[in-house]
Structures are given as C-alpha cells and as structure tokens.
Symmetry: D2
C-alpha cells in the first residue's frame, strides 16, 4: 500500500511542539465508526488504541450518538457547572442503579472537573483532608496525570521533570512483582509503616492502578491487591484505586478491582465513563469521607451534560447484565492466544506478554522493537501504541465492542508486524 504523506503543515506551523500522537501516526483523521477510523485520504485504520481507553464502546457508537443528538436537538442544557439538571439526575440514578447498588457500594459521586487528572487531584485533596497528612504512597511506574498533584504520584521521570519544581509529598513503593519475583510482597512498605524510626512520612493514602496502563501493562495479582487493601486498613491509610484507564469494563468487570474482591475508599473514574469520548470524570468515595465543604473543589466543566447523557446511555446499554464482562473476557482470551503464539515464535527475541480482559502488553528484549512493531502496524492500517518507561511494550487496547472478525484482523496485522520487524 502506498502512503501519500499528508499535509501536516498547519499543525507544524501553529501547534506546539508538545504534540505527540500525531507524530507516530502521520495521517489526518476525519471520521470514525465503531472500531475504525478514516483519514481524509480515504484510508481505513483499525483501532487497537481506543482513545487510550476512552472509547471502550467504539467510535461514535450509534446508540449513544442517537441519545446525544436527541439531547442537543431538544436544547437540553449543555453547560451547567454543578447546577441540578435533568440530565445529571438521570445519570446519577443510572449510575446508582446499574453500577453502585448491584455491587453493594454506597459511594458518593463527585464531579471534579471532566478529566482524569481533575479526579485524581480531588481524590488526593480529600484523602489529605480526611487524614490530616500530606504524604501519599504511589507505586513504581504509576501514571495518574499531569497537573502537579497527580504528577507527584506519577513515576515517569521525563514527565516528572516537566513539573519544573521538585515533586514532593509522594513516596513510590514497589508495584506487584517489581523486584525479583521472590521478595515477599510489602516486606519493605510494611516495615516502613511499623517502624517509627523508618523516616517514612505517615501516608494519608495509597493510590494504585490495578493494571498499569501507561507504566507498561503491569498487572497486579488479585491477592496482591487484597494484601494492599489489608495493609491500608491496618495502618490507617485510605486506599484510592485510580480506575481511569482500567475501569468501565476494560479488564472485564465494570470496576477493575472487582476481581480482587476489594472495595476502595476512593475511586477515580474517567476516560470511557462518558461513553462517547466526551470529557467526564467522577470521584467516588465512601459516605463517611464526604467531608467536603460546598465548593471546596470545583471546575468550570464539571457539569458536562451531553456527557451525562451518553454516559447514562452507555450504562443502560451495556451494563445492566453481565454480557459485556463475559464478552470482554472471551475477546481477551483470543488476544492471549495470539500473543502466546507470537511469544513462542519469537522466543529468540525474548518476547513476553501479560494482560487481563481487553488490555494486553507485548514486550521484547530490545526496547526499540515495540516502536518498530507499532510503526509497521500503522503502515498496515492498525493503530497500536507503546507504553512503559522506555516505550518498550506494545499495548493492546481495542474497543470492548470490537467484533471477533475485527479482532482477528487486527491480530493478523500484529503477527505480521512482529515478523516484519524481526
């Protein structure tokens, strides 16, 4: 296939050098439907990226689209800060009935501003207020956002350096299986907590991703998460699960921590919660923690009502029964099989893989290989991104709504891209 280089001059001339995805994928995208994007030159791209987890229901999902356009057509409130609206009420009721109650959760819902980092900032503020302590424990290779509060609990040195100030009040601990695979979990963290001479500032909370998406598709075992929840309880720390990328069904169940049988004190949700790729974020917390004063945290776009509409539609469409979870696990097994084959075929290249639900990672001994695979996949019409501190992991994040045929098509491209880069 011949690729005509698109004319990117406007972006180069007017947009900041900070732009990044457009560099990996030199195309000018125009339309999208389901698992496919289309550029303005008519090329088609299968999507194994899904808006970095924001498009779990695919692009411009027709059910959500209908609900959204109807709402706009009838002049439903668009922007409402935290005024009460019918759209917000419908979302709250749906979220309560479809998500919280069936899971025996009575968490309060906060709209902290429509991005993940808003949710993390509010979660950290609340934890610090509740506990009266400044320090937060995060994990190696965590990613929680780019505003200063979130960045301080993010691991990536390059992103941290961008802060321009020393990032403090956070302490990294080893994520599951970070050390040598033999060192007992939490041996270090627990010792620090127990020893009043350890020098650890007593943490207000621990913030964790169950599967680290940006950090390299590092999957925490259920027993590790349970032990972490137990540690938090024994040492008076709040447990915050950042479910921004792994929630909304990405790993199978609606919340990624359900498999472990834990219930976090605070949960951050964003990305696919709006359903249609519209900005929306939630911070959920146990009622006893709801000690906010009115307006103590806010944000202009926290009441993005069109997103409430698509969010409610998505919940009603996909989460009133267990079908979505089952389907995700089934699709995931299909990926797993392919990755197993690839790893077997490329044992000489030190290939390994890991994942859960519909999030998977493929790593080679040579860190540059991941980028090469993604570049080749793009040429072959598949969007795939890398993750990990050295971009060393090929990350699989297709829409949850992908069909078996689409998935197979994508996996064939991956298999070929791996071979082509050998």
């Amino acid at each position: 296939m011949t690729i005509t280089q698109p004319d990117l001059s406007v972006f180069e001339a007017v947009e900041s050098e900070v732009r990044s995805y457009c560099r990996s994928w030199p195309a000018i995208f125009d339309r999208a439907q389901g698992s496919y994007l289309y550029d303005e030159d008519g090329r088609t791209y299968l999507d194994f990226f899904a808006g970095a987890g924001s498009l779990n229901y695919g692009h411009n999902n027709p059910v959500l689209k209908r609900a959204l356009i109807d709402y706009l057509e009838r002049d439903g409130i668009t922007h409402a800060l935290d005024m009460s609206t019918t759209a917000k009420r419908a979302f709250l009721e749906t979220f309560r009935d479809v998500v919280l109650r069936p899971r025996d959760m009575d968490h309060k819902v906060m709209f902290p501003g429509p991005t993940g980092t808003n949710a993390v900032e509010s979660a950290l503020k609340l934890a610090r207020k509740v506990k009266g302590r400044e320090s937060i424990v995060s994990f190696t290779n965590a990613f929680h956002g780019m505003s200063l509060g979130s960045l301080a609990v993010t691991g990536n040195a390059f992103k941290r350096a961008g802060a321009g100030i020393p990032l403090v009040h956070g302490t990294p601990m080893p994520f599951d299986d970070y050390l040598d695979g033999r060192t007992p979990d939490f041996i270090w963290f627990e010792r620090l907590l127990e020893d009043s001479g350890s020098g650890l500032n007593q943490p207000a909370a621990v913030i964790v991703e169950t599967v680290q998406g940006e950090g390299g598709i590092n999957v925490a075992r259920a027993e590790w998460l349970r032990a972490l929840a137990d540690l938090c309880r024994r040492h008076d720390m709040l447990l915050i699960v950042d479910d921004i990328q792994m929630g909304c069904g990405r790993t199978g169940p609606f919340f990624s921590f359900e498999e472990a049988g834990i219930v976090p004190d605070i949960i951050t949700v964003s990305k696919s919660i709006g359903g249609y790729g519209l900005p929306l974020a939630l911070t959920l917390f146990r009622p006893a923690l709801d000690i906010w004063e009115p307006g103590e945290h806010n944000g202009t776009f926290r009441g993005n009502n069109p997103a409430f509409v698509t969010a409610a539609a998505a919940l009603n469409t996909y989460w009133t029964d267990g079908q979505m979870e089952k389907q995700t696990l089934a699709r995931g097994e299909r990926i797993e099989r392919t990755l197993r084959d690839i790893v077997t075929e490329h044992a000489h290249a030190g290939a390994t893989f890991r994942g859960r639900g519909l999030v998977w990672g493929l790593e080679f001994q040579d860190p540059a290989r991941a980028t090469a695979v993604c570049r080749r996949a793009f040429e072959l019409g598949l969007l795939l991104e890398t993750s990990g501190p050295q971009s060393e992991v090929v990350k699989f994040l297709p829409p949850l709504t992908i069909t078996p045929e689409e998935l197979d098509e994508g996996l064939r491209i991956v298999t070929r891209a791996v071979r082509d880069t050998d």
Copy 2:
C-alpha cells in the same frame, strides 16, 4: 410567584457535599436557549451568569448547534488525543486567521487538556522550564484553578486550604488599586526584584487576570497592565495572562489585554473558546518559548473534536469583524447606567460598582447584601452569582449575545432585587 420546591433528593443522596451552585439555585434545569434556562417545572430563568463565562454566545447557540450536530451526524472524529484531524486543522486555521494574525500575534497553540486549570498548569510548567526557576508571582484575589499547581497561585484562603498540603512556590503581589489608592503601583514588587537581599525567590513568571472574576470583579487599569508588562521585561520574568474568564470577548475585544496594548508571553484560554459550553482549553505562547518535548505535558481529552467544531464556528460567526466588540461595549454601557442609578439610589448602603465590557460587579458595604440580592433575583427569575473573597460582590456576566430587551429585563429585576433587600 409561588415556587414549588423541586425534588432534589437524588442529588442529596448520591452526589457529594462538594456541590455548590445547586444550593443557591434550587431548581432542576432541563433546557436552555440563548439567554434563558428552563427548569423541569416550566419556570424560565434569564441568565446573567452564562456558565461562569463559558456561554458567551448563549445557550445552545443555533449556529454552533447546527455545526455540532452535522459533525456528529457524519461521524466526525469525537475523541482524538493529539492526533491530527480535519476538525482540529479547521480550528487551528480559523484561530490563526481570525484571532492571531489580525492581532499580529504568532503565538503557538497548545491543547493542554480541556479545562482552564489544565491550561494554567501547562503555562506554569512551561514558564518554569524556560526560566529554570520555581517561583511564580500571582496577585491578591487571583483565581487560576483547583489542581495543585493552579491553586498555589490562587488567593482564596478557603480554596487553598482544600489542598491539604502547604502551597508553596507562589508569592502574592498587590493587584491594581489593592492598597490605599495612593501607594504607587509596583513600589513593593519592583523593590523586591531590585534588591538581592529582599528574600524574594526570583520568579519565573507573573500570572495575572486583567479583570479578576472570582476575586470580586477587580478591574486592572490599562496603564497598570502596561507597567506590569514592562516590569516583567525589565526583570526577565514571563508574563502570563490568564484570559480564561475574561477572554473570548467578555471585556469587548477578543483578548481582554488588547485594550492595554500588551502582548503576553503566555496566554491561557478556556471557558467560552469552545463556544457551546463544551470543554476546551488553549495555552498560547511565543514561538521562542515552545521548548516542550513531545508529550511532556498531555491529557486524554485534549483533542475534544466536537469542541473544535463549535469553536471554529463561533470564531467564524462572531469574530471576523468588529461587530461583537462594539456590541459588547454598547451592552456594557447599558449595565453601567443601571448600576450608576442603583448606586446613587443606594448611596446610604455604601453601594459601589465597577466593570468593563460585559462583566460588572456591584458591591455593598454589608457583604451579606450581595447574597441577598442574588437570592431575591433568583426568586424573580434571574440567575446572578456573587464573587469576591467574602461573596460580597454581585457579578453580572450575561451572554454577549443577549438582546437589549433581555438585558433591560434583567436589569429591571436587579433593580427590584436591590430594593427588595434594602
């Protein structure tokens, strides 16, 4: 008029105590058009609030609505991070041609995430990176956002306390006319900068609003802004204008700093830039400052393509000639006349007013009066909020597209609300 108390039980049961506007305006809003909102009980509310400055073109502006629905109907890309899209290109071209070039500005455009605080965080990061210093100077009663970086340069003690950590690396300086009206401007700030023994950490940048919206409608004089720009130049500090609330025509010209004839090094824009109340934010900076590495700052919803569509439509509709600016100034004079009358009538209550373009503030000696006026206005069908550190200022922020008749209707309600609360 009899008000039936709406059923707010869902919000009270499920939503966090942090909610605030819904407490002042106990109604459940459903639809909105132009300058009016409608609640589900059929009541009509004239809007002198405009989504805290996010709805300069009114609710569900029909031109923008058409463009938005067309885009959605044809499955235009919704969510794209910073991939290149046709919608983004159209926005960039429009912004360059309609906004930047006519003002002789060659600022680069960054999409830092779709909220004001994302824009401020990125502006502060960039300033720190460029100058290699941590400290930022802000002004008394500034408001720049609620994530930790932005909050550190925000004045409000209640909001600052919510951080849960000491907010450092920021130093407040007196805003225009903050002291006794006789003290020369910048006498303190400049002395600190000149004196190597002053104890001021040398700032990377100064961040300022030309009119402080949340801080109490404090209007900086053009000569003060020019002197500030001059101070920045002489002392090697970047000048950041936070035009999130006052930009997009609120004070008359597109950027609020145009009247002063200054060109800031960095500009943050959000709220009405999307045009339709959809989340969008920009950070603009001189090309020489564009030293970002790819991805050094990012955010999942930084490519909110539906907002690009409405943003471009708004610019093309309202900003290709000088009509909007003229109209805003004319409408503003109408408000000014009414406020002058109110102040004269209520001289005994120590009433004062100030403002510019279509942002005005009315203050009484008794700080509680502002809340009383807004409450009464609400009963009379007008949305008005307070601002200032003690909520002591009634804030006028109607859509720029308000008709003279609507404006007069609102001003009559205000006049009555002031009388009723005497």
Copy 3:
C-alpha cells in the same frame, strides 16, 4: 607601613574555598586582648568588628578568663548535653535574676544547641507547633542563619541559592523604611492578613531583627516595632525577635527591643551571651508556649558548661546595674559625631549613616566604596567589615568595653580611610 604578606599556604591547601573573612584580612592572628588583636608577625589590630558581635566584652576579658580557667582547673563539667549541672544552675539563676526578673519577663529558657541558627531553628519549630501553621513572615534583608530552616527566612539571594533546594514556607515583608519613606507602615502586610483572598498563607509567626546587622545596619524605629507587635497580636501570629547580634547590650539595653517597650513571644540569643566568644545560644519564650515534649529538639553541644560559666560571669559583671547601657549609648554618640562629620565632608559621595548604641553603618553612593574603606582601614590596623546585600555599608561593631581612647583611635583611622579612598 610595610606589610609582609603572611604565609597562608596551609589554609589555601587544606581549608575549603568557603572561607571568607581570612580573604579580607590576610594576617595570621595569634593573640587578642580587650579591643586588640595581634598577628604572629607582631602587628596590632584595633577591633571594630568584635567577632561579628560575639565579643561585646572584648577579647579574653580578664574577669571572664579568670572564671573560666578556675572552672577548668577544678575539673568542672565541660560537656553535659542537658544534664543538670552546677554551672548550668548558676547560669540559669543569674539569667533569671539579672536579666529576666528586672524586666518583668517570665520567659522559659531553652538551650537549643550552641549556635544562632540552632536557636532560630528551634524558635521556628516551636512557633509552628504552637500555631499549627507552616508559614513564617520575615523581612527584607533579614539574616537568621544558614541551616535550611533559618535560611528560608533569610533575605540574601546568594546565601539562599546555596540551599540547593527551593526555600519555601517563608514570605518577606518590607522592613521599616524599605519602600519610599512615604508609604504607610504595614499597609501591605496588614491588608494581606485581613483579606481572606490575598493568597498569603496564614503565618505562624513573624521573625524580626530590631537592627539588621548583616542586612546593612537597617534600624527599625521603636514605633514600627510596636506597630509590628500590635499587628502580631491582632492577627494571632507569634512575634519572634532574633536578638542574636543586637542583644546582649549591643544597642544599649540588654535586649535590643527594650527601647520599643515590647516583649516578644520568642527571643533568640547567641553570639555575646557566652561572654567570652564561646559557643552558646538560648531560645526564650513565654511559659504558655512551652509545649515541647522532652527531647523534641536537641543538640550535642547544647550544654556547653564553660560557656555557662563565662556567661554568668559576664552578666554578674556588667548587667547588675545600668552602667553598661549608659556607657554604650555614650560611646555610640561619639561614633555618631564622627560619622556625621564624615558624611558632611563626603556629601559629594552621597555618604549617609545610621545606627544605635554601638552598631553603626556608613554608606556611600558607590557600593564598592565600603569595601575600599575596610581594606584601607585594615592596612591602617583597624578591623572593619562591610554588610548589606551588596556589601555597600561599612559596619561599626566595636566591643562594648572599648575605651574612649581606643574608640577615638579607631574613628581617626576610619576618617583617614574614607579620605584615602576618595
């Protein structure tokens, strides 16, 4: 007079580049008595420096020397941490009877470690503990020490930069007469405190020197100090007077703040408190503030018993009546007269002077002149140092015990050095 360059090679080879006084005064000092030092080549130096205020009673004062040698001879305890000793008891009793009681002060005495910066660190810790706040207000051109806590409230940019971390939790305010001489005192500070939107982190305490020694011999007026004390009381901030350099009689009375009629909540004392130039420091505070837990602050050399002995001897010798204060003021007038003459004679050079008691400063329009005067004075056998952010002030700090003849001798040298550098 021919100066043989001394052999400084050992210092240059072995000692760090951080050394400073030895560069201004290239001599190898061997002995000292009263107001004179003697180098190993037999040269004599009159001392207008007095160990930067640590030798108010002159070098090797015979009364204190006797007491010290007697104590050493009889094997009195030398090092005792905070164990109870007879020497410490004698000091405490003397300090209580000679210093505290006659001034109606019931301050508790803390031994925070034997240096000024230990005292300041403990004062700041205590203030923060008592008030539960992090922020401390200091003043432009303040100097409080070189450990991180003290440095954060010190003004000098060069010294601050040495910290290697951003110094935070301190905010500088204008010292007396810092601005244009017309701006009302505290107009800015008080406004910040009153305005909950000012962005000032509410301070735990204010730390101030009554006369800034390192900062350039800046003399606070008594009424300014009283207004500051009043401000602290009205705004719930502790008042810390750092009397390390100006206490022990330097300005006349034992404490430098006595003239203003104020009683600080916390006082730091060091330098001349030991009397003989031996390391000792005290932190004094109102009994109600004594909420320390045992050992919450400590230091290995906090019980420097030989210094207790000389300290008690100095108090008993010089402070049981008002003679010392009278004499200091009389000697000070002598300096003042000379400085007035110099300033008159050198009006063309923009000479000015200021001071109180036996601390005076002489400044010229050309900042380099102060260094030139001190260098010439050294050649003429007089030790004089500069102070101020640009070393622009010649600082007069003779022993309080200097005789009128010695003082005249020194002032004659100063007069000549000024002329010689014209």
Copy 4:
C-alpha cells in the same frame, strides 16, 4: 545506697520542658575526670555514655586540659570566625598530617559551624550544589540532626514531627539487614535508580552512618558499605558518611568507614573531634567538590579556637600511631564477652547484642526493659542511655580512654542491673 533527691527546682522553673537527659539522671553534676562524673552531693558516676560520643578521651583529659589552659592563659585568640589564626593552622596541619595523609586522603576541610547539624547541613548543601538535584537518600533509623535540612534525612517520627512542616526532598532506603535477612541488599534501591519510571527523584547523594548510634546501634557490614559506595559510583550519587558519632575512633580506626575500605566523597565529623567536649565540627570533601563560593555557608562560631587547640592536642596524643585503635578493639572485646554472657543468661528474655569497637547495644524482647536497665544502672552509679526508635536498646559508649578496671566495674554493674530488672 540511699539517694537524696537533688533540688531541681531551678531547672524546673526556668528551663524549658524540652530538657531530657536530666530527667533520666536526676542529679546535679559538678565535676568530672576521666571516666567519672561527680554530683554536688558527692556521688560518683562511672560514665558509659561519654557525652553521647563527644568525650572519647574522657572528661577533662589532663593533656588536653593543659593545652587549653595554656592557650587561654596566653590570651590566644578565642573567637575568630574564619580568620586565619595560629591555632587553626596548627589544627589544620595536624589534621592533615595525622589523619588525612596517612590514609591517602586529600579531602578539603570546611568548618561549617561547631555542631554536627551544621556539618550535615553544609554537606547536603554542597552535594545539592554539585549535582544540581534536590533529593537525598538516607536510611531507616538514621539520625543526622535537628535543623530542618538534617531532620529531613533523619528517621525518627517523633523528631520529624517537631519540624512543624512536611519534611521533603529525602527518601529513606533500608539500612543493612533491615528487612528479613534474606532479601538481597539494595534490590529495591538499585531497581528504583535503574528504572526511569520508578518515581524516585534522582538523588544528589546518599547519607549514611556506618553504625547507627541513635537508631539503635545498627551495624552496617563492611561489604554492605562497599556495595553502597559502588552503587553511588555507578549511579552518579555522592556518598556522604556521617561520622559524627562513630568517627574519632569510636569503632576502632579514626574514621569508622576505614574498615570497609571505602573513601566517602563527603564526611561529617563533630562530637569528639574537639577532644575536650568543646563544640567543633568539620565537613570534609574531595577537592573536586570544593565549588563553594566564599561565605556561601558560614556560622559565627565556626572558628572555635580553644577547640582547635584541644583537637590538635588530642590528635597528637592519641592518633600518631595505631595504639588507640588496638586498645579500642581490645576493650570492645571485653564488652562483647560480657554481653555474650548476659545474652546467654537472659535467653528467655530474648536478649540480643551487637556492636563494634567501643559502641555496643543490648536489646531485649520487651522494649521497656532497656529503660529499666538504665534506670537501675543509674541507681548503681553508672550512666547508660538507651537508643532506638522505641528506646529499646541499651547503648554502651564508654570513653575510649577507659581503663580495663573501670570497664570491668561498669560491666559488673550492667550485669547486675540486667538481673535486677528481670
């Protein structure tokens, strides 16, 4: 033996509640000689405490005493900041010839102020300046001082809380044998350094004690120290050994790190360096690190000349041959034998011991036992203090000059005190 309760009323009335040792040892000490203290009631106390390591050569050592009194008698300079003096030259020459050269060290000598915390503050400043980074790694149960810079790298939670501000820019790592005894050394630290996604702020330096005195007599193995030095070299971090308590022969050789065969980049020395219990401290560093500007760090009492005199005398008396080291190791073995016996006898109480040279610790399963043993020892005329985060370790720190008979006497008391508290 009947103890008359001493009259401590002056201390209680005048001195701050912060005092601590005087509470454990309710006596008023008056004189001291060699290994004995005498209170004013004539009681004798054998000293197994040695001024917390400041009196390695015993109390009022006659050789040093003679040198000191001679110096005072002849009016040698007492206080000299960093002016060049004959006493300082003699010390520098002696230190170079007796300490540095024989060990092939060419470290520069800095006088940072006369206390240990001054030395640590200057070491951290220098490391940060050299590397341009803020972060310092310290170890669990480290103790480095009480001023804010030193406290931030100190482990004890109680002491840290006294800061009144969050202590940041420090990260604790596990000291030797901190975990389970099976986990490989540095597995965690090295992984953090290697992984750019770990979230560790890249450290400027590592600060370590070879034996943690305050932390509970935790002895680092030589191979652990060597591995640490290697880690520092490989990861571009400076190695700072805080030898304030363990240097000057406490563990045998002059520097405690000699046994491990490492040469730190920066070394802090204080406590016994003055020899006579007089305040003195040194910061030593490789010549290439000596990038200080003149006066960039300073302190009023950094030139404590009487301490230079006793320091030089101590070096000349005790360190010109290997006798002191041999004697210390021999005396240490005597302690070790006794502790082995005690531990055997009290195996039922879970007694353990550890140490090196003349610093030893005895621990029981019940943390309160250590305090009980020390209290009983005091009644029996022996000064012994506890250490460790819970004061759970009896700490043996006799003067290095203790005679075998005195040592045996003390060990008999210890044996009895342990029995008496069973």
